[in-house]
Amino acid sequence: MTLTFAASKYAPAPAAAKPSTSRKLRRTLTGWAFAGPATLIVVGLSLFPAVWAFFISRTKWNGIAQPTDIGWANYERLAQDPDLAAAAQHTLVLTVLFVPGSIVLGLLLAIALNQRIRLIGFYRTCIFVPYVASAAATGILAGYVFNPQFGLANDVLRRAGLPAQQFLESPRQALVVVCIVALWGEVGFTSVVYLAALQDVPKELIEAATVDGAGKWRVLRSVTLPQLRPVTLFATVWQTITALQLFDLIYTTTRGGPMNSTQTVVYYVYELAFQTRRLGYGAAVAYILFAVTLLLTALVIWRSRRSGEEAF
């Protein structure tokens, strides 16, 4: 990116006086001097491991003994792995709960925070703070709040006369609780993005609609929401990626338990690669996750480009 940019910027200048080869070379080198460090970092820390992981995914390797090449066997195993199917299902449930949840909540909060009331800056900060806190800290705190014996959540239920729940220790509830905690942490992000977008909605449109006799609800539905569509698209893709990659929260709350009910695909990869040391198979699962994420994103962008939105 930097390279193209630099080249196009300097391109018109040489048209006047034809440069000598040494000047051309110097320019190329200057360009690379700027782009080089970043390129090296990207190649060394992202692309090289990614390519290496592909080679690992075609081996049986525990990280210690010599790897044995087994071709596509790891990928063939993917199809018949019940644990992977369960993990994929958990990831899907999490995504389906988390993405619409964070968008609807984010939008509602943004509309609330867009009012002209006293101390609005303070409220805005409050909503954003959980997003800034590390997911690890959030997870540890959630562990205290949702502890079945001594936690605050059960205390509240007891006072309300409701039966105590097992929360993170129940295979049925754990995933939902993880999702709620994730929402608490991430909703600050979508609300800030929506807040910025709301302030970009042209005033004239709203005024025109009001003059035409539209009520508040109608303005929101017919003017504001359509104006927010590119942001919604961006938030959907972004939050989907966040949900698919959710790891730290699960690690600090349930470690995939109880009975693997919160084991998502990412956590399964971690478990395969670093707990039971099946690096080859783990890499194959990671590659499938990568392919699915890429496909989903490409699909969303392709659709949005076709309908003429400019979110990306």
Binding site: T4, V43, G63, I64, R277
Partner: protein
Amino acid sequence: MMLIPNRGSRRTSMVAGVTGLALLLGACGGGGSKADNGKDAAEGYDPAAQVTLTWWTGQPSEGEQKAEELAAEYMKAHPNVTIKTSSGAATTDDLLTKLSAGFTSNSYPDISYGYGSWAGELATSGKTQDLAKFVADPSFGWQEIPAAARETATYDGKVIGVPALVDNLALIYNKKLFDDAHVAYPTDQWSWDDFRAAAKKLTNPSQNLYGTAYSVSGSEDTTWHLWPMLWQRGGKILDGNKPAFNSEAGVGALELLRAMAVDDKSMYLDQTDEQYAKLFNDGRIGMMMSGPWALLEIKEAGLDYGVAQLPGYNGDHQTVSGPDLWVLFDHNDANRAGASRDFIKWLTSKETDAKWNLAIGNLPLRSSEQGTPEFAAYVKEYPGGQKFFENLANAKQARPTVAGYEEMSRNVGDGISKVLQGAAKPKEALDEAAKKSAGAIE
């Protein structure tokens, strides 16, 4: 956010791919040479040569400090040897990852701490020394170390290290809870039925009291508590290269645990590995199957406790031991190999081990340490220590030292945790675990 590649980035990624491939091939070429050529790693060792050894102790701060003191003591007596001591990784669990990275980059230590369950994998690295001849020398006193620990250090006839720590599981009980419920204390003659009956009597849901506890995290902590019960019934973990824990013995053992957890509800099921010991120390759990490592915190909690050997099946009270090892690595340097052997021999000798394991609250490595003043001090400080020491004799079998044990353990742990939470029957859970593990053990 540019996710669809433009022309420029496609070219970059191609270049990166080629570079990556070249680097990968280079790495493979470098790691390909194996030290396993039949020659002893320390052949031609010159005890007077200047050597620098790297020692990863895998200890938390207190143990690490003690280790550094001992290394300094050794260096004083052997001025030609420099030992670089460090804990190696943030936690003992992380050591294996560090070692694995070290093997790839050729910067692994001379001596590292390692869990016994890693032995099979480390042995297949081709970077370990074979100490079989070295420990066979009578001056080493190999036979004084418990058999299960010696077996763990041995892979395919090769001895890859020296036991660093020995322990075992026994039954620790809270005397006050037994008194309150008017139940007689556990004895060394208890059967599992006695255990179940007592647990049921101790349980009191209204006061949040449980007879006993079991981890259902699905980790090795879940799995290895089942092994002694399997062995007592004449079962085996592996039969050759095939999982054999789903035999009648295994199913019977798991059925007893299931009945306690599901039917009697006398078992606190811990979703982590960390809660049940704390709840025991807190006086909420009557009995727990645990090891000598638990004694320090029990003592700090000021609990009045007793220790009995595990309940038995038909009079068989054998237990399981989880020995850890000092693994010795080969750097194609006879002097380093020889010096690391000499150091470990000194460290695990009767005299030094008393200053090491007993000082940091572990059981003594060698039976001969029983007469030392350090052992007397240890037993005085930890009243249960004597029983755990005697219980070493009940550790008759070892967990198999095979590559793939960790994966199998995970499958068995998942199965046990499902059964104890009422989501599966013992037979089907163990059969499934055996089926899943068949590919891992080869």
